[in-house]
């Protein structure tokens, strides 16, 4: 890969340790994937924030980079392993909290915004159509590429940090238009009635379009929250982090639907639910917000729980960004949800918090949330927001 004089100086260590390590990562990735050069990025989203995933070694790595590393572009952060303010209420140990705070301190020293959300596009990190960015967090990467029409590969934590310290990323993969051509046409014949149906659709398409880019037709309407849920699911269950949806996503008019066609019928949606749902009726954990709840979703939750009480054997978590919660505080949604016994889990989520062994059975609106909770040894149920709130109130799943 061609390097400019400035990039070569960074690689030679003339701008310090973090810049050298970053250039080593970017140059190696560029060589592996045949990039000709580095390109400037407009913003970075960094994953790998939970102490649960990093451990002491990961913390040490971040501290080494934080000694002289400063980000050169707008850089936001993925969820941490806990609510940075309300962690005690969520049952996080003192020891974990102390370590998690050290991780956050390291990111703060690097100049990163402590946004701690998987929905950076909702809180001020919004690329323009066609802009090159370097994002990690698969659901956000898919949203950026597809719903916004920005261009990013699916970065890992260290490669995103490297891009932030250099302000550039190697130009390969989804940065190149020739690699953004859809290779499968998906005609959706199924009706989508509720939010979780979009997660089920993501499962169905992800399985059929394994490692492919889908061009989706047959969908007339889609809200941002529905697309957010679909993005998380389709990439979790197998597709590339890019799709086109005719008449919905901005680049859908710039490419042709491929000839190779599969259809999604009602039976495929039912099959997705059958695979995601376990046989379980007692629910001790209800978590909504994977990806993080928008302010609109928080309003819907407040409406559903108003005047009700969460069951004594069940916890209800609303996972969201601190930014969305601050709006909810001002509007009174927070008070309504907390009065019912529900808890806000800001800055964190069910995929990255240390939850193994704490709960037996999860109810959620999120197909991705079910995938990660199974890794935490939970049984899972996916359904509408209404069904989830009912489960929180009764402690049972009815259907």
């Amino acid at each position: 890969m061609y390097l400019t004089d400035e990039e070569q100086r960074m690689l030679d260590g003339e701008e310090g340790y973090a810049a050298r390590k970053s250039m080593e990562i970017l140059a190696a990735l560029g060589d592996i994937f045949g990039a000709e050069r580095l390109i400037k990025v407009g913003s970075v989203q960094v994953a790998g924030v939970s102490y649960h995933n990093l451990g002491d070694a990961g913390l040490e790595f971040l501290n080494e980079l934080a000694r002289d590393g400063k980000v050169k572009v707008l850089t936001t952060l993925n969820p941490a392993g806990m609510d940075l303010e309300n962690w005690r209420e969520l049952g996080i140990s003192e020891e974990f909290a102390a370590k998690q705070n050290l991780v956050i301190d390291a990111f703060t020293r690097m100049g990163i915004l402590i946004s701690c959300t998987c929905t950076p596009y909702l809180i001020g990190n919004l690329p323009r159509y066609g802009e090159h960015v370097a994002w990690s967090e698969s659901s956000a990467v898919t949203f950026a590429n597809s719903v916004i029409g920005a261009k990013t590969n699916r970065e890992g934590g260290p490669s995103a940090l490297a891009a932030a310290f250099v302000g550039k990323t190697p130009c390969y993969g989804l940065h190149l238009d020739e690699n953004r051509v859809p290779d499968m046409h998906v005609q959706v014949n199924a009706k989508l009635a509720k939010l979780s149906d979009w997660g089920a659709l993501g499962y169905a398409i992800g399985k059929k379009a394994e490692n492919k880019i889908a061009y989706i037709t047959g969908i007339k309407e889609a809200e941002v929250d529905e697309l957010k849920s679909f993005c998380a699911s389709v990439v979790t269950y197998g597709s590339k982090p890019l799709f086109y949806m005719q008449g919905i996503t901005p680049a859908s008019e710039t490419v042709q639907a491929p000839k190779d066609t599969v259809t999604i019928e009602e039976s495929d949606i039912k099959n997705a639910y059958d695979n995601i749902n376990d046989q379980v009726s007692d629910i001790d954990f209800v978590c909504v917000g994977c990806p993080h709840c928008s302010i609109k979703e928080i309003a819907e939750i407040a409406e559903l729980v108003k005047g009700k009480k969460v069951n004594a054997n069940t916890e209800l978590w609303v996972a969201t960004s601190r930014t969305a919660k601050q709006l909810a505080d001002k509007r009174g949604y927070t008070q309504i949800i907390e009065a019912s016994g529900g808890k806000f889990a800001c800055d964190t989520c069910m995929a990255v918090a240390p939850l193994k062994g704490r709960f037996k059975a999860l109810a959620t609106t999120s197909a991705k949330g079910c995938f990660y909770s199974r890794q935490n040894s939970m049984k899972t149920k996916m359904g509408s927001l209404k069904e989830c709130i009912e489960a929180a109130v009764t402690g049972k799943w009815n259907s």
């Binding site: 592996i32 990093l54 970065e155 260290p158």
Partner: protein, 137 residues
């Protein structure tokens, strides 16, 4: 030349440097991709992925030979944790390296080579990696 042919010349396989450096050890070979995050215990180095051909075996001190990484990108940090805990492989050889293993190898400073015919390396072989060259000793 193959070993046991009576020829003293050691077999060399030319690959591509992913993470530079020199190391030597006993090969641990699998034909299956490895998911480091969730698939390898960062404290012991043991492969814990259910149903994996290497399940129950530790990667500690081995030249780990596998086609490529898979799974979550957090796997790069798992490699770093293995290294800091003293239970990492001393080198890695891939058929086709991808982002997770490449980044993990670089930040952990574990020598790593790819574009090598890994079918020629059997578990238990003595192997040396020096930058882009793999030597069967």
């Amino acid at each position: 030349m193959h070993r046991g042919s009576g020829d003293w010349k050691m077999e060399q396989l030319k690959g591509r440097i992913i993470s530079k450096g020199k190391s030597e050890g006993e090969a641990l070979t699998t034909t299956q991709p490895i998911s480091f995050y969730g698939g390898v215990d960062p404290n012991t180095g043991e492969v814990i992925e259910k149903g994996h051909a290497l399940q129950g075996i530790s990667v500690k001190g081995k030249i780990l030979v596998f086609p490529q990484g898979k799974g979550s990108t957090v796997g790069s940090y798992t490699l770093y944790r293995l290294k800091k805990n003293g239970v990492a492989p001393v080198g890695m050889i891939n058929r086709e390296c991808e982002t997770i293993v490449a980044v993990g190898a670089i930040i952990s400073e574990i020598p790593c080579v790819d574009k090598v015919d890994i079918s020629k390396i059997k578990t238990g072989d003595r192997v040396q990696i020096e930058n882009g060259t793999v030597t069967l000793l």
